[in-house]
Assembly symmetry: C4
Homo-oligomer: 235 residues x 4
């Protein structure tokens, strides 16, 4: 019992790290099989193989979940904790949807993706990112708000400039918002773009102001990470 606890809960022993790595590898395997299953025109043989792999991974994750519940000092606290819920939600759809039709099954399977956060769970490095986020939280939230306001203003502006020239593409403020998102993030798919002189001059000013705002959070995160690192190694 004590050995089991060491294997599953501890990270600084050889056994604990081997167990963690094995679970991480299994999550990656589970995600790859999930991705392959979305491919159309799979051969029945391959499909059966994928189902077999899925069955095995779900069984292992179930055993892991049960062991974690047994080991936990405070069982109710574990079950209601963030990762306790995630662990359950990752395996539950398989059992719940076992007898039902396929479509619903596919939709529920999306929840299995939360297993990816298990990867994060085992990683020490995520903590530093979390600390960096806390340092720059206020500014990130502020820039989030400013970005949303800017997107809205840009959408309304372009709607008035382009609505008559391209009634289909800039049909409403909501359609214009899609243009604002694609433009201010500089993705620029090319499915919607201004064609009037007014719309283009407006785009120019929106980009000039917008780029100085939308790409700021990345700079905030990277400078906060430097500070979080200095916090760990003050020298």
């Amino acid at each position: 019992m004590k050995t089991l606890k060491q294997i599953i809960e501890q990270r600084d022993t050889v056994r604990g790290r081997t167990f963690d790595l094995a679970i991480q590898a299994l999550i990656v395997v589970s995600l790859i099989t999930f991705s392959i299953e979305t491919l159309p025109d799979l051969s029945p043989t391959l499909r059966n193989l994928l189902h077999a792999i899925e069955l095995i991974t779900v069984v292992i994750f179930t055993v892991e979940y049960i062991l974690r519940v047994i080991i936990a000092d405070n069982k109710i606290r574990f079950i209601t904790s963030f990762f306790g819920v995630i662990d359950l939600v990752a395996i539950l759809p398989f059992y719940v949807t076992a007898g039902i039709d396929l479509r619903a099954f596919r939709a529920f399977r999306l929840l299995r993706l939360f297993r990816i956060f298990k990867l994060a769970r085992y990683s020490v490095a995520v903590r530093r990112f979390h600390r960096a986020f806390l340092i720059a939280r206020e500014e990130i939230v502020l820039f989030f708000c400013v970005t949303v306001i800017l997107l809205f203003l840009a959408a309304v502006g372009i709607y008035y400039f382009e609505n008559q020239a391209q009634p289909e593409r800039f049909r409403s403020v909501f359609h214009s918002l899609w243009w604002a998102v694609a433009t201010l993030t500089t993705v620029g798919y090319g499915d919607v773009y201004p064609i009037t002189a007014g719309g283009r001059i407006f785009t120019f000013f929106v980009l000039l102001i917008g780029l100085g705002i939308v790409s700021v959070p990345a700079g905030l995160v990277s400078s906060a990470l430097s500070k979080a690192r200095e916090f760990e190694n003050p020298c």
Copy 2:
């Protein structure tokens, strides 16, 4: 009277914060109804509902404006202040255009968007952004100028390279400016791009120099924000 003043003008009391949050929520509601109204093919029922919501929000904003004027110690100073004008301009179009035809009404309604700055008015966080802007103002203005010069040089250059190969898309320096904006901001819609070897090599050099200039302001803003934060918490 004194109570009313506390509710409307103060932010650190429970009543004041509740009032502020209510006004903010109302602005968001007003913007959403405005956006929905731009959708084509709305049912008459929904259109009536939207008009009703609009009427209610405008009435509330009018009452708020009148109360602010009554409360203000220096009434003329409030009315001529930035937010005093914004508050008036946000409600005026509704009354002015009430009897006139619909098209002009729609055009004037754009002014109502300035209500969004009311959101900023209530937010303390905007001040920090303002301070950061003041720290990096000189560099931001310089880079704004350099960016404009660079855009112009890029437009003239590409005009000479591409005008003959694509006379329709690079018709003049102004048409080439649109290409310069879309390229140097890395949006790249794909509606205009060079096809000659010369134009492509020119684009390569313009991008090499341009990216090191156009994306600098964001870095300036983010480092200025760090400094503004250190200014608040010097320790």
Copy 3:
């Protein structure tokens, strides 16, 4: 004579600043007329007006150039200096091409654009940018080299992946270089993009490495600018 020198060469007197601003305004006017002249289908009246404006600006710039030569303590040094050459080159094409055919005239006129550097000449702020560039020069040159190598490697790689699938678009390493430029700068016009699975996976890795390299110089410039500012105001 002494007064003239004060007006033209000094910047901290009222007269000097007025003269500088007037010349700057004239350069902007000259550039706008230049741009308008590239528009097709201009009316003869407008064309005549533009030619008149051009004549006036060139005459003023000629007078300015002659005055600068007369005023200069060391005339030969001024004429051979960077801005001395630029000033001459900005007005010379007008006189040289006055009698010749129009096409050559248009090509030579491009040189007039160097007048834009006159704008910079009057600006104190450019010096700070220059100092920042000197601070980060080594890294910027290094990243320039790494970017060029990366672009070449990306072009060769995508050529081997996509040449057979899209022989027209990825015809040679040079054609692939155009793809590499448009992709690594994240412009992404959409005229060339990989369609094979191999080419797409290669693009993924190129972007993952490339973005961490191509966008670094902007960060270098912005941090160097902070240092240049601290150098000016050490407190």
Copy 4:
């Protein structure tokens, strides 16, 4: 013998630097001829010229390699070193494929590109970049992982939103991954983009979170480079 060693291995003497520069120039020549050879429709004369240049460069690189082996104090250590292997691999394909058919020859020739790392070999500046990479290594690896997880989550999400509306473009999670790569790097070719309202709102949130993650490593590298520079010049 001693003189030869000075020429080839030392960098601070005039002879050594001349030799280094000559080899670097030759690598650039070799890469340019390689690129030109990929052009279709070359005249036989040019093709012969390119082959002649190739022959000469390979012979010189072979002589250089042999000299380096002879000069090396520990021959086996040099041959098995990174640049020893690269040097051999850069010239071997030419001899190995001399008698065989052309197609295979072309494929093997790609290895010659590793000669480009010889350029790096002679550059002192690369060391600073290496040191900067070591400083920010942990964060870069973390962000690499987070980016991969984010790309996967984005791909799965968009697959569920767009698969039914665009079954051809979002055929599987793997096809959606291509969209995720092109979108989160803000390249945005425009070959795949969401068309459903759900997909577009999902794209908005993915970009809002993603831009704050994908573009962070560049900031990390640039701040690490500043630290590496301070490390060299502590004053």
